[in-house]
Symmetry: C2
Subunit: 101 residues, 2 copies
């Protein structure tokens, strides 16, 4: 259960979701990702570390560049399923206060 929460935590931030979408169809270097995604180099690097630590993405070094890619088809699928689900519950979600305290 704790592990499951951690896994989902990987998806639950705007920048991390943007990173995942950015590399959904092709691996990219950090610089390319920084161009695609809002946020500073430092912040994005930290989010990449989180995603890698959570097992959602993989990296490989090639010269001075580091390439990141989606780990596998299941991660890819779940991103697609989020989109499907979103279509269905969009209205409800938009009115969510999102703050529960």
């Amino acid at each position: 259960m704790d592990t499951k929460v951690k896994l989902i935590h990987g998806f639950s931030h705007k920048i991390r979701l943007q990173i995942l979408e950015s590399i959904m169809n092709e691996e990219k270097t950090v610089s390319q990702i920084v161009d695609d995604v809002e946020g500073s180099q430092s912040s994005i690097s930290q989010h990449l570390a989180c995603l890698r630590g959570c097992g959602l993405i993989l990296s490989r070094q090639e010269g001075k560049y580091v390439y990141y890619r989606i780990r596998n088809d299941q991660v890819h699928n779940i991103l697609t399923i989020f989109d499907d689900l979103l279509t269905e519950v969009q209205t409800e979600v938009e009115t969510c206060e999102h703050y529960i305290g």
Copy 2:
């Protein structure tokens, strides 16, 4: 994109995940959920409000009881898919620092 983050936020807390699992196969009253899930009545009530606001669950009142249930099959499916994904990336996720700052 903001809506998508909100949606996923609904899944990204231990108590909320426990609530979803608790009502995965049958609707339950708040009291039943409070028995199933760790946390105080107040806290669980707040998380139920979050899940409802995010469109993941639905409620209906019957007398002095309020019954909660999973919204639809897609929400049900995504919970199943999290389990599948978890099986595949368990080791990686367990070593995740989960704190990126």
